[in-house]
Amino acid sequence: VSEALGRTLKILVGKPGLDGHSNGAEQIAVRARDAGMDVVYEGIRLTPAQIARSALDEGVHVIGLSILSGSHRELIPAVMEALGDADVPVVVGGIIPESDVPALRAAGVAAVYTPKDFDINRIMRDIVALVAERHGVSTAA
């Protein structure tokens, strides 16, 4: 997919809000690197504005947000709003009750992962497929 995109698939990984539990985000970041992606690891305690600005400056193809603080109903839509009309898909992982998933999807989130989705390789395949679909290229490439 990176070949078809013209440049290596680039993902931003970060944690919005007051949440210092970075283990999950780091696992995702390292696995994404091992899957051949360029990973901008932004760290913790980020504001939605910081995340949006970084995503645009860095020219990432996809944003992965990790959130375990319970503030996802406020922070995730705020990130989507800060991104404005930029067409960068967002996936979210963390402690997210199933009942909140429809609201996040309605806000434009492409996928939501919880600790039930422990197969990180599957998440990576999903992310590659998501970027390929948004850019109209084949995952076989």
Binding site: G6, R7, T8, A29, V30, A32, R33, D34, A35, G36, M37, D38, V39, V40, Y41, E42, G43, T47, A49, Q50, A52, R53, S54, L56, D57, E58, G59
Partner: protein, 292 residues
């Protein structure tokens, strides 16, 4: 054509391997930007990112616009990269005058990413200061010296004795030496290298460092510096595309440099590159001893 808000789109274009014609066109249009291109290099963990965070803050406070190209290594195994410099550089998301872009070095070993040279050249047309932070380098990754107007080498305390500095390599390139973590002591012998040594422990020493960088830039013949950078960049692009066999077809590195120095000094990088490629064809691939 080129302003600070266009920076993300410019980088997306320059990094795209499928849009090289457009990229070359953009480099041509940008010409020699007036921005100060500064290379910051040094071993891993020596304090490059911390220093850069303090420098960026001071430059912005002084009203200068800043673009940072932060290069990190790629995994040899997967080709992927974990780019962590951005997390260490403080930035205000509402400030358009500070642009940070993380770049993966890919398979290149010189400390730069494939698009770094072109990016620095183009951004220098829009920003007052363009900083290239190289991957943490060892003793021989000195490519940044070919593109930057001013190179600052970061040396942490107790980094070895004078013998380390008599070896060729990274200590051949500095215009300014930054002795970081100065509160923890110094590395002896640095002052014998004949370039300014600035001890820092941010925020202490940052003002002095900016003054030293500015003084170096003021002492430069910028036209000559940029001409050298264009020639070196064209040759590096040629070697990364055609490798050693391409270089042999030109009669070796020395002959290639001589050829470049005979070309019109006003030629831009993509034109010089094109001339090298053309010369390779006219020299004929028969000069490749592996084929004979």
């Amino acid at each position: 054509v080129i302003d600070v808000s266009a920076a993300p789109a410019i980088l997306n274009l320059l990094e795209n391997r499928a849009r090289r014609e457009e990229a070359a066109q953009l480099v041509r249009e940008a010409g020699d930007g007036a921005g100060h291109i500064i290379g910051i290099t040094g071993p891993p963990g020596s304090g490059k990112s911390t220093l850069l965070s303090a420098l960026a803050k001071a430059w912005r406070a002084g009203g200068r616009t800043v673009a940072i190209l932060a290069v990190d290594p790629s995994s040899k195994r997967s080709g992927g990269a974990l780019l962590g410099d951005r997390a260490r550089i403080e930035h205000d998301p509402a400030d358009r005058g500070l642009f940070i872009r993380s770049m993966a070095a890919g398979e290149r070993l010189g400390g730069l990413a494939p698009a770094t040279r072109a990016a620095a050249t183009v951004l220098a047309a829009a920003f007052d200061v363009v900083v290239i932070e190289t991957v943490g380098v060892g003793q021989s990754e000195t490519e940044v010296a070919e593109i930057a107007d001013t190179v600052a080498v970061v040396v942490p305390p107790a980094a070895g004795d004078a013998l380390q500095y008599m070896k060729a390599g990274i200590m051949e390139v500095p215009d300014v030496i930054v002795a970081t973590k100065a509160d923890l002591g110094a590395t002896p012998g640095l002052e014998t290298l004949g370039v300014p040594v600035v001890p820092t422990s941010p925020p202490a020493g940052v003002g002095e460092l900016i003054a030293a960088l500015d003084a170096h830039r003021a002492s430069l013949d910028l036209v000559q510096t940029r001409l050298r950078a264009r020639r070196a960049g064209a040759l590096a692009d040629f070697v990364s595309e055609y490798g050693e066999s391409g270089l042999r077809a030109l009669g070796g590195r020395r002959a290639a440099r001589a050829f470049l120095s005979e070309q019109d000094p006003s030629s831009d990088g993509p034109t010089l590159y094109g001339l090298l490629v053309q010369r390779r064809w006219s020299a004929g691939v028969s000069q490749d001893p592996l084929r004979e």
